[in-house]
Symmetry: C2
Subunit: 297 residues, 2 copies
Amino acid sequence: MIDKLEFLLALARERHFARAAEACGVTQPTLSAGVKQLEETFGVLLVHRGSRFRDFTPEGERVLSWARRIVGDARAMREEVHALKHGLNGRLRIAAVPTALAMVERVTTPFRERHPNVQFTVLSRNSGELLRLLDNLEIDAGITYLDNEPLGRVATIPLYRERYRLLISADAPLGNRDQVTWAEVAQVPLCLLTPDTQNRRIIDRLLREAGGDPQASLESNAMILLYAHVRTGRWASIMPARLAATLGLTEVLRAVPIVEPEASHTIGLVVPAREPMTPLTSALADETRRVAPSLAD
Amino acid sequence: MIDKLEFLLALARERHFARAAEACGVTQPTLSAGVKQLEETFGVLLVHRGSRFRDFTPEGERVLSWARRIVGDARAMREEVHALKHGLNGRLRIAAVPTALAMVERVTTPFRERHPNVQFTVLSRNSGELLRLLDNLEIDAGITYLDNEPLGRVATIPLYRERYRLLISADAPLGNRDQVTWAEVAQVPLCLLTPDTQNRRIIDRLLREAGGDPQASLESNAMILLYAHVRTGRWASIMPARLAATLGLTEVLRAVPIVEPEASHTIGLVVPAREPMTPLTSALADETRRVAPSLAD
DNA sequence: ATTACTTGATAGAATAACACTATCAATGTG
DNA sequence: CACATTGATAGTGTTATTCTATCAAGTAAT
C-alpha cells in the first residue's frame, strides 16, 4: 500500500508514468498497475489520462495529500527506529535560498560537532522551488524567507534577519558614503539575482517604492558570480549584510548601509509541519534554535 | 506494510498473538510472521517474548505510536475518498461515560438530520477505558469529562457543564429542601456508579472535602439501574442535573441542588488529535460545536 | 495525408510474497 | 507429572507482483 502511494507521489512530481517509474526503481507497467490498483481499492479514478498523463482528479489530489503525509510518516518511523539503535545518522537534505547559502554553515558546523555521523546535502534553490521540494519530501528542511511571501503548511524557526548593503567600489559616485538611500541606489546599475528569487523581488520592491525603476545590468542565480563581478570594483550589487561580511571586502570594495527604509527580512529554517518530526529534522530544528540567539541583532 | 502495522496494533490491544490474529481475521502464524517481518525490516526486536507475549521493547513502543498514526491516516484517507464519491456515510463509533449517555442524543439527532446515511454505534464506557479505545482507534470519538483528569493527545469540544442533584424521595429527611450541602448529603446512603467511573471519583472527592466518608449502599456501572432503584422512592442518588431532567421525576422523587460548593465539570467530545480529521469525525465535531451553545448555562 | 515518435495500457511468464494447516517446543498449572 | 496454553516453525498451495515484449492512441513533422 505505502509503495503504491509512493508511486503516486512520484507521478505527481514527474507528471509522467515512465519517469515516475524510473524514479521509483520499477518499470512503467508496474507503476501503471500500482496506480490502477489504488484506483480500484478506492473505487475512484485518481488520474485523468488521455493518451498521456493529464492531471489528477479531485479525489486524486486528496489521496495525494494523504499520501504525502503517510509516506512521510512511514519514513520518519524507519528513521527514528534506526536512530534509536545506531544513534543519529543518515543524510539531511537541505535547500537554501542563494542569499542564505553562506549562513548554512552556522547551523551545520555545530550540528556536526554534536552528531558526527550525519551527512549533509545542501542545494541552492529559489524559495518557490524550495517549498515545492519540501512538499514532495525531496528535502528535509529549507532555509528561506519566513516573513515575506506565504509558506504553506510548514513549521518555521527564525535564524537571523537579513539587512541590505550596497556593495560598491570606493571610487564610484556613492562609494565614499556612510549610508545611501534606496532612491540613490536606484540610479546605480546593479548585479542582482534573477527575478525568480525572493531576494530580487524584495529589492525590486524596495527600489520601486523609492521611486526607482529596477533594472539589473547583470543577473545570475549564483551569488558567487555576482560577488566575483563586484570585487573587481567595476560593478555594484546589493547584498545582505551578513553575506557581505562573510565574503569579505577588498581595499576598494565597500559595503554601504542602505536606508530609507532600513529594510530587513527574517531568514530561518522551514521543516514539514509534522508532529512528531523525524529525529534528524528535529535535531536540526534544535540546533537552529540553539544558534539563532548568537545571530540576533 | 500497513497491514503489518495493523497486526502490531492488534497485538498491543490483545497482548496475545492468537487473539490479535483473530481480531485481524488472519491465523496466528500469519500474524507472527507479520510482526517478525517488521522486526526484520527495522532490524530491531519490537516484542519481548518468552514462551508468551511479554511486552513491547522501547523500539516497539515507538513503532506502535507511529503505527497508530499511519493506520489512522490510511483509514481516514479511505473514508474521505469514499465520502467524496458517495457523500458522508459509514458508521461512527462513539463511547460515552455513563452520566453523559443520555446527552449523546443531543448530538446524534441533529447529526442524522444532516447526514442520514451515517450509522452509529454508541458504547457506555468509563473514561479511562474510553481513552484507551480512542487511542487504539477502536472508536472514532468519545464523550467524557474534559476538565477533571488528564486526557492525553486528543482534541476536545466542550458540550455542556455537569451539575449535581440529590435525587431523593420527598418523604426522606432531606427530601423537602430547596438545596442541600455536600456535608449533608454525605450522611445519606446513596446509589452511585462504581469507583472505576470518573463521576464516582468526583462525587467521592466532593463528599470527602465536605468532611464526609463516601460509601455507596448500592453501586452499578449502569445509570439506568441506579435510576430504577431511586424512582421507587426508597433509595437516593446523586445525578447530573440534565440527566435527572431527562429521566424525569415522579410525584415523590425530587432533584435537590447540592451546594457548598456548587460543583460543576465540563463534558464534551474528544476525538483523536489528528489533522486533518476523518470526514465523519470532522462532521461530528462540527455538529457538537453547533449544538453546544444551546446547552450552555 | 503520411510517417515517425511519444506515451501509457495490456498480455504472458517468472518470481516473490502471503496465508493457510499441521505440528512442535517451551512454559505454566492443577 | 499429566495437561493446557502459547507462540514458533515447516511445508504447501494460492495470490500478488514485477518483469519483458508488444500494442494502440495520440502528436508532431514532413
